[in-house]
């Protein structure tokens, strides 16, 4: 299956400052691909290169099988783009603005704009510059989704949206994927992309430092564990836990008649459950894996991520 997006050794210099140092990644057609990274990592620059807003200094970019520059308007009609910072200042209503973007993008199905606006709770008859940040963002999402493009490039799509609308957005992404569209989105935090993305690339200082499936991240991620048990000494309980593979950072919180410990777990749960079976448990909390934490670790230590 051809890739919807692929880059090879993509570099970009602004003057003497190089902001992308050879970015390589590929997005499979029909997948949801998230790129995350701290501010200034190069997410926006990468996305602008896909749309031919910025021209790469070197390297190769292919979007829907074409070079963005050579692909021109025909290629961009097949893409829906939401910029990272959306400025809509005109004294026009949302409806008129969308009609304008409709005129310069791919064909929009009748009623599609109203359906999307209603879904996101956006009033199309208000002047754009009077809209709040969240409502402008909704307008941006409508213009990106309205022509059902083959590829959606969304730079921090949920920024400014309240949680309910974020949920609606996630549903829109899943539906788009269902229809065979490819979605490439970015965020500075993982939690925003992990709900929808199949694959996550982590970009740091202009380099991709890891590309992982979300389930892979989950496996490698750290879970926090807290348990209380009776009839065992704190020392013995600590030793028991410490012997389980993947368990670390064992800490005793309470060592009275009921012992309370916390620890972290990386990897499989099964050995832990087996070990815990011998205990007289009063309480057990095994948290959702904290992907954010493992990603933050990658942000700060490239060696760790390279393994």
């Amino acid at each position: 299956m051809p890739h919807a997006i692929s880059t090879r050794s993509l570099t970009k210099k602004f003057g003497r400052r190089e902001v992308l140092h050879g970015v390589d990644f590929a997005v499979e057609t029909g997948s949801v691909f998230g790129v995350i990274g701290p501010n200034g990592a190069g997410k926006t620059t990468t996305m602008r290169c896909l749309l031919d807003i910025i021209r790469p200094t070197s390297g190769e970019v292919r979007v829907l099988g074409k070079d963005p520059r050579a692909g021109g308007p025909e290629l961009r009609r097949r893409i829906g783009y939401l910029p990272g910072e959306l400025f809509l200042e005109g004294r026009v209503t949302g409806r008129k603005l969308l009609a304008h973007y409709q005129a310069i993008s791919g064909p929009v199905a009748p009623g599609r704009i109203d359906a999307l606006a209603e879904r996101l709770g956006l009033d199309l008859d208000r002047h754009t510059r009077k809209l709040s940040k969240g409502n402008k963002q909704k307008l941006g999402l409508v213009q990106a989704f309205m022509h059902d493009p083959e590829l959606l490039v969304l730079d921090e799509p949920t920024s400014g949206l309240d949680p309910l609308v974020q949920q609606e957005f996630h549903a829109m992404v899943r539906e788009a994927q269902h229809k065979g569209q490819t979605i490439f989105l970015s965020s500075h935090v993982l939690s925003e992309v992990q709900q929808t993305a199949d694959t996550v690339a982590i970009l740091r200082d202009g380099r991709i430092i890891a590309v992982e499936s979300v389930s892979g991240l989950r496996e490698g991620a750290v879970r926090h564990l807290r348990l209380s048990a009776n009839g065992i000494s704190a020392h013995d309980a600590g030793a028991l836990l410490g012997a389980v593979p993947g368990v670390g950072l064992v800490e005793v919180l309470d060592s009275g008649s009921t012992v309370t410990l916390t620890a972290t777990l990386e990897g499989d749960i099964q050995p832990l459950v087996r070990a815990l079976g011998t205990l007289e448990l009063k309480d057990l909390v095994l948290e959702e894996p904290d992907l954010e934490e493992s990603v933050l670790k990658m942000y700060s230590s490239p060696q760790e991520a390279a393994k």
Binding site: F14, I53, R55, P73, R76, H100, A103, S105, G106
Partner: protein, 267 residues
């Protein structure tokens, strides 16, 4: 494919109708302010005495040396001064906003992410600028024609038409200079500065160049002088000058399109 023709032109043109209307009102006010006064001011002997009493340098700088005739009066006051000022400001403002201002405000990025080429963006927006400038010049033409009899101006229509073409061309030159500098730099301020420089320097070079044969060469550098050097309202247009004004404007637009097409946007 897009179903509407010239979508970018339409947006640039129709979204700025308030601004167009505002400048039209300003130009109409200037026309109605100056021209009906001609019978009592320009043509009167008293006024002529006053102008004779002014320093010759000043009357030359203001083009008031021929204010005693209807066409000369219209040339000096409306086309040469207030109308020129208003048209130039309008044109420079639109030109600087067309590409540079749009890029600076972050909106150009989204437009370029759609099914348009950069050359198309520059050309359609330049067309919108030109159409608005022509509309304003046409409005002034119509109003002067309307006032011609009542204000005893005695302007020949063909001369007035030539003056309107030069009036539009002169303002458009400042506007396209603003568009070009804005497009090359991506900054509205540079566009405004370039447009204002063309307008102001053109005026100043004309005013200074007319003072003495030693500085006459300045006139050659003044678009204002190219357009108005032979008083087109009175004597008819210098069509070669009109060609230069419109031609250089077209070249500046082409340069803007060329520049925007080759650089990063919003970087």
């Amino acid at each position: 494919m897009s179903t509407t023709t010239l979508p970018l032109f339409r947006r640039a043109f129709f979204d700025s109708w308030r601004s167009t209307l505002g400048w039209a009102a300003g130009l109409a006010a200037a026309t109605f302010l100056y021209l009906p006064l001609y019978p009592s001011i320009g043509g009167s002997a008293q006024m002529q005495d006053m102008i004779d009493a002014l320093p010759a340098e000043m009357t030359k700088a203001l083009n008031y040396d021929q204010i005693a005739t209807g066409p000369g009066y219209t040339q000096a006051t409306l086309y040469g001064l207030l109308g020129f000022l208003l048209m130039t400001i309008a044109s420079v403002g639109w030109g600087a906003a067309a590409v540079g201002g749009d890029e600076e405000s972050g909106q150009l990025e989204l437009t370029l992410a759609h099914g348009v080429t950069r050359v198309q963006v520059v050309l359609e927006r330049a067309l919108s600028l030109a159409v608005r400038v022509v509309l304003l010049a046409a409005l002034v033409f119509v109003l002067v024609r309307l006032l011609n009899d009542s204000a005893q101006l005695d302007i020949r229509p063909e001369n007035l038409f030539g003056a309107a073409v030069l009036f539009a061309g002169l303002a458009l030159l400042s506007g396209t200079a603003a568009l070009c500098a804005g497009a090359v730099s991506g900054r509205k301020t540079y566009g405004l500065a370039a447009g204002a420089a063309v307008g102001v320097l053109g005026y100043v070079f004309n005013a200074v160049g007319r003072q003495s044969p030693d500085v006459e060469w300045l006139l050659n550098l003044s678009p204002y002088h190219w357009a108005y050097g032979n008083s087109p309202v009175a004597n008819g247009a210098d069509w070669a000058a009109a060609g230069w004004l419109w031609g250089i404007s077209a070249a500046l637009v082409a340069l803007a399109a060329f520049a925007v097409d080759r650089r990063d946007v919003g970087a």
